[in-house]
């Protein structure tokens, strides 16, 4: 995905929901931010590599 099309806090948020559901426990917002950055990196860098 092109970085310009990323809306921080909306793009890829579904992946965070799945991640949290899988963990089964509430998580700290700082931990979640790190995971969210990983999700966004995956989305954006996948296209950059292509």
């Amino acid at each position: 995905m092109d970085g310009k099309n990323v809306t921080y806090g909306e793009t890829g948020i579904e992946r965070l929901v799945q991640l949290l559901r899988a963990s089964g426990q509430p998580q700290d917002i700082a931990w979640l931010t790190e995971r969210y950055l990983e999700v966004l990196r995956e989305l954006v860098l996948a296209e950059a590599k292509e």
Binding site: K4, Q25, R41
Partner: protein, 621 residues
């Protein structure tokens, strides 16, 4: 695929390849002509082994060899140890390439002959929408380039061939003249250096946060968190909180997916409320979960249930969160107030406002770091603090006490344990808001029972976030005539008091040192927030007259003023100095360091009479 297509390989292989092709095209009979038709080698082998009544492994080998010979027609893919062949009804499969360059949307965004743009605001309206929703505005690259926001792409300038009208593009047979060659002059200009240096690849990995911050995702998560951790976290938090259809919910610092449909009903909330009222004091969420819902902490859904409880209660008007991180306490309407009823929160907030105005000198004696590391703070009680059981929420106190967990949290309930007497007290910590100061209240019984104004107290943090200990240094019994409030007459008097704590003798309000304090008027709290008026009254009451009757003047020391003013209202030394220096009525005494002179404003006869009434008739010292 035309009938004339020749399959390659030996005759058996050609025949087999043709059969496979027929089977696959039959499978995709209703597919689009260029749609891919896929089949696995295993399926093909199973099918032909039955058809040919031959050994399956031989058939599989034959099919593989035949299709290898016709590799152009049958594209081979390997997926999860399966071999898949792909073809289409028109022969070799080619992914469809859609030509979208002439689509209307592109024409709209990138017009062939655009009008000149002086300002990007011509393109994007600045009119405020009826609903203030924050939505990203898409601006085409073309317009951004025109406005100078983005650099001109070099590839367009260099690589795009000039538009040439060819014969077959003309309608109506052969042209009568040689075909015209049309070249746009603007497109053949040399690229500017800016365009040449602009690279598109890095821009694809840069994302823009709602606050405008741009971050490059090629950097590692650790690096990004180290540099922008707070911003990234805050932006994610606000995005989650602002979401129109929330998928995640936040309580404090924790996040969990929104649970729709489940949760707590009115009956559950009523039970919680009744339980809190019965306990008569705020309770922890863990107590509520355990005592009301009988949920064991060992259950796998315990934490999610607890989170949901906290989140639900935070949305209910009847409940108020009064806890901290690590101790989530809940209070409800109808619970008894903590601390004295003689103080109104609005008046106290204004009286303590000097702290928020920057006149807080509490960190002179102890630094915030030492308080945080040591986990304790020393404080000398003033008369006001002792009388009303309050403590100012200074920066020194803020270094010791926990911060709010929720953004709209106003108070926290703490428990102060008194190990010397095996008692404890609930203390309400009111956080500062805007220009109103914060304070702690609820210590009136402890102060009155065991301490006197001038006593040194030590407050120490414990392992539990909401529990503190309060101690003082004990000494043998002493008796002094100390200042107290006669509540029946609502005036200050001196009476014999026995006490057992170490005190600062300069601050101890004895009759010998501060006898004139009994002439102080106990103004209502609404009046006491006017610090300048209180200072005038205090100065006149406790100081030595040095002027004449016609031109009265008073002199006293800074130290005495501070102690006396703290009888009526909390004041820091810095604030006192500010009040003294800010008014023309006061002047520092050049003859005596640390002393101040006060010249009252001229008053009428009526004022004088009223003033006399303030003084105690028995004042015969």
């Amino acid at each position: 695929m035309s009938e004339s297509t020749a399959f390659l390989g030996n005759p058996e292989q050609r025949a087999l390849a043709e059969q496979v092709y027929k089977v696959m095209t039959a499978q995709g009979r209703f597919f689009a002509s260029d749609a891919p038709i896929r089949q696995t080698l295993a399926n093909l082998a199973d099918f032909f082994a039955v058809q040919q009544k031959a050994d399956r492994s031989d058939v599989e080998r034959n099919i593989e060899a035949a299709l290898r010979e016709n590799a152009e027609l049958f594209a081979r893919e390997e997926r999860d140890q399966d071999v898949v062949y792909v073809t289409s009804r028109v022969g070799v499969y080619k992914p469809r390439q859609e030509d979208t360059i002439h689509m209307f949307k592109w024409r709209l965004h990138d017009p062939e002959h655009p009008l000149p743009v002086d300002d990007i605001s011509v393109v994007v309206t600045t009119t405020r929408p009826a609903l203030t929703t924050v939505e990203p505005v898409f601006i085409s690259d073309y317009w951004q380039q025109q406005a100078g926001i983005l650099p001109m792409p070099s590839d367009v300038l260099e690589d795009e061939p000039p538009f040439v009208v060819t014969d077959d593009m003309l309608i109506g047979g052969e042209p009568s003249q040689p075909a015209p060659v049309f070249v746009e002059p603007a497109l053949v200009v040399a690229p500017t250096p800016v365009a040449a240096s602009a690279e598109r690849v890095p821009a694809d990995t840069v994302i823009t946060l709602p606050n405008g911050l741009q971050i490059d995702l090629r950097r590692s998560v650790e690096e990004l968190m180290a540099q922008y951790g707070t911003t990234l976290t805050n932006q994610l938090r606000s995005s989650i909180e602002r979401a129109v259809t929330p998928r995640l919910v936040i309580f404090g610092t924790q996040v969990f997916p929104e649970i729709s449909g489940g949760g707590f009903g009115k009956n559950d909330l009523r039970r919680i409320r009744d339980y809190l009222l019965e306990a008569n004091e705020p309770l922890l969420d863990t107590q509520i979960v355990q005592d009301i819902f009988r949920l064991s902490p060992n259950r796998p859904d315990y934490e999610s249930f607890r989170f949901e409880l906290n989140h639900r209660l935070s949305r209910e008007k009847d409940f108020e969160f009064v806890g901290v991180e690590g101790a989530r306490l809940w209070s409800t309407k109808g619970m008894p107030p903590i601390g004295t009823k003689r103080l109104k929160a609005s008046e106290m907030g204004q009286i303590m406002g000097y702290i928020e105005e920057g006149f807080d000198d509490s960190l002179l004696a102890q630094s915030a770091d030492s308080i945080r590391k040591g986990g304790s703070i020393n404080h000398i009680l003033s008369f006001f603090e002792w009388e009303y059981g309050v403590l100012p929420f200074t920066r020194a106190m803020a270094a010791l006490f926990p911060q709010t967990l929720l953004a709209d949290q106003r108070t926290t309930i703490l428990r102060f344990e008194v190990p010397q007497h095996y008692t404890s007290a609930l203390v309400e910590l009111r956080y500062p808001t805007g220009n109103r100061g914060g304070w702690l209240q609820g210590l009136d019984a402890f102060f009155r029972d065991y301490l006197v104004p001038g006593a040194l107290i030590t407050i120490t943090r414990t392992e539990q976030q909401h529990v503190f200990t309060i101690t003082y240094e004990e000494q043998s019994e002493s008796t002094e005539r100390l200042l107290v409030v006669d509540e029946k007459k609502n005036k200050l008097i001196f009476e014999n008091v026995n006490y057992y704590c170490t005190v600062d003798s300069d601050i101890l309000l004895t009759q010998a040192q501060y006898g004139r304090l009994r002439n102080l008027k106990l103004f209502p709290m609404g009046e006491r927030r006017k610090a300048d008026l209180m200072l005038e009254h205090v100065f006149e009451t406790i100081s030595d007259p040095v002027g004449t009757r016609a031109e009265p003047r008073y002199r006293t020391t800074e130290g005495k003023l501070l102690v006396a003013l703290n009888v009526l209202r909390p004041t820091s030394n810095e604030y006192l100095l500010h009040l003294l220096k800010d008014s023309d009525l006061y002047a520092s005494d050049p003859e005596l360091a640390g002393s101040w002179l006060y010249t009252p404003p001229p008053t009428t006869e009526t004022d004088d009479d009223e003033e006399e009434e303030l003084y105690d008739e028995d004042d015969d010292e």
